[in-house]
Amino acid sequence: MDTVLFVNQLLNGIQLGLILFLLAAGLSLVFGIMDFINLAHGVFYMLGAYICATVAIASGSFILGFVVALPAVLVLGLATEWLIVRHFYKRDHLDQVLVTFGLVLCADTAVKYLWGPQGLSVPLPAWLGGQVALGGITLPAYRLFIVAVAAVVALALWQVIARTRVGMMVRASASNEEMARALGIETRMIFALVFAIGAVLAGIGGIMVAPITGASIGMGNQIVILALVVIIIGGIGSIFGAFVAAIGVGLIDTLGRAYLPSILGAVFSPSVASSAGPALASILIYLTMTLVLVFRPSGLFPPANR
């Protein structure tokens, strides 16, 4: 096996996993704490990418795009929570699925109206566009940048939830809403905050992938399904579970795509193998989730309080 290739694939898998984690973390918190299924979570992923792309193209600075997009997504997240989402915390999952499905339609069309159907391509600063040599292996600098940023965000999130007062309140609200209210925690504010933070995390994910895949309409709609798979595997409400599952899914997807065709090629004709390989990688992910649901219905790392 080619080491250079393998290390590159590993890096790509981890990078995909970390992006998935950024989406799954918010999804999992919103689900775990408010019991709310948010199919529209991917909208913030898309909006992050679009706002960053717009600013980056206008100013020529990707970093400026990043800095402007974050508060913008935060505000949009708060607005969505206030206008629509908060009326659905107590409704059943079916209503939540449908209302967020409606939100996705609205958001995708609004983006098409504002930015056109074409999608945007995001320029990268030169220092991020090159290659980095690490111990004889060249790796794309931007991939390493994504991994670093996402890892920092993940670590910060974990610290906030585990160590700070706000995190304590979030955890309290998650385990027992009435108790939290009795302790004087304003759960409505906590809910809004959690939703907005989830939106920002998704936005960061979208910003990070924009220079690779561009910003396009509906870019969040498929990855949000993958993020749902991640939180089911990891255990709903568990940040740690989401992290492990996201990296796992990222690796299965990337390594599966890279190596399944040659493994299949041992049995089938090359053209069958190369077309069936990517499909099989996707199937593997769903198979994993099914097995988890059958044998550990509450996920691999269910949070202690559920």
């Binding site: 689900f31 019991d35 299924i37 629509i84 009326h87 107590k90 409704r91 059943d92 999952h93 079916l94 209503d95 699925v97 449908l98 209302v99 499905f101 409606g102 939100l103 996705v104 339609l105 609205c106 958001a107 995708d108 069309t109 609004a110 098409k112 109206y113 709609n221 399904i225 749902l228 798979v229 089911i232 709903i236 053209s271 069958v272 077309s275 069936a276 390989g277 990517p278 499909a279 099989l280 996707s282 199937i283 769903y286 198979l287 989730m289 099914t290 649901l293 059958v294 219905p297």
Partner: protein
């Protein structure tokens, strides 16, 4: 202590503030009116020179059959499947693959469509029905995605492009490639499915499904194994949806994996909810509204999805029992 008893998981999906049940009378009247209107629609539309709309209505009726089938599990059983459209694909590919192999024999194609749908429903239902609530949503999605990706990867059956069916299904002299024949075959299947739903809803079996949806502990406390009945309902629903897929393949002349995507399944749920969950006339009403809005709004603006999304949100916010529910609210009960 009671908190730790299992089966609370699905509680939110099922025992949330009860949706008031649609009054039967209005619902059944609406069902008959719609079916009668559908029966004369081709003549009426041809008379005023709008026969293209027959095509739209035929499509709505096929979607309506799929939605009736989903209503068995979602409306009576309270089980939200985000993978129901997979049966449309299984029914469609049964026709497509057999036709591709040169078999255009009607009974063989129909038999394959029903058999494969039923078998898939049975195998996946056995696993999926052990879960509840959001886990059921996700596991049905997972099974559908697996089939979806399998068909995407199978080059010899068209892969992502789908499979074109060049020869229509024939039952002796009955050729489903003839749009007029197909129209009335579909109408008959739809009518039978709606009648079946109306009967089952009021039957022993329907009562058990509704009870299990409302309170599963109660059902096992009196001595029923809800799982068995749900599996039966799931297999019946899958088979009926497979039949819809069979008809759809004959209607469109091709099948694609995208018919099985989660978006298609989401649309089926949407049709059931907009029409009126657990009602007889809801699925076809929802399907007609869905397609007519699509045609009408689509003609007005390319940004019609925005208004469509708003419409959906408004329905969920303000008309929780769908169109049939609105019909009933007008008269005090």
């Amino acid at each position: 202590m009671t908190r730790s008893i299992p089966a609370e998981d699905g509680a939110k999906l099922t025992s949330a503030p009860a949706r008031p049940r649609p009054a039967t009378d209005c619902d059944l009247v609406a069902a008959f009116v719609i079916l009668a209107a559908l029966a004369v629609a081709p003549f009426a539309l041809a008379a005023i020179g709008h026969d293209f709309w027959t095509d739209v209505i035929l499509r709505a009726m096929i979607l309506g059959i799929a939605a009736v089938s989903l209503n068995f599990i979602i409306g009576l059983g309270g089980l939200v499947s985000l993978g129901h459209a997979v049966f449309l694909g299984i029914g469609g590919y049964s026709v497509g693959i057999l036709a591709d192999l040169g078999i255009d024999n009607g009974p063989a194609q129909l038999g394959a469509a029903l058999l494969f749908s039923a078998a898939f429903a049975w195998l996946t239902g056995m696993i999926a029905l052990r879960t509840r609530g959001v886990h059921f949503i996700m596991i049905t999605l997972a099974f559908a995605q697996m089939v979806y990706f399998t068909m995407m990867g199978l080059r010899q059956f068209g892969g992502d492009d789908g499979l074109t069916i060049n020869y229509s299904t024939t039952f002796g002299p009955l050729d489903l490639g003839d749009k007029d024949v197909l129209y009335y075959v579909v109408l008959a299947v739809l009518g039978a499915a709606m009648l079946g739903f109306a009967r089952v809803r009021r039957s022993d079996f329907g009562l058990l499904l509704k009870a299990a949806k409302g309170n599963e502990r109660r059902v096992s406390a009196v001595g029923f194994n809800a799982y068995r009945y749900r599996l039966a309902a799931y297999v019946a629903a899958g088979t009926l949806c497979g039949l819809a897929g069979f008809l759809d393949a004959n209607f469109t002349g091709f099948v694609t994996p995208s018919a099985m995507s989660w978006i298609s399944s989401g649309e089926l749920i949407f049709i059931v909810i907009v029409g009126g969950i657990a009602s007889v006339s809801g699925p076809i009403a929802g399907a007609l509204v869905f397609l007519l809005i699509e045609e009408w709004m689509g003609g007005l603006t390319v940004y019609w999805h925005f208004w469509f999304g708003l419409f959906l949100i408004a329905i969920i916010l303000f008309a929780r029992n769908g169109l049939v529910g609105l019909l009933n609210q007008r008269r005090p009960r």
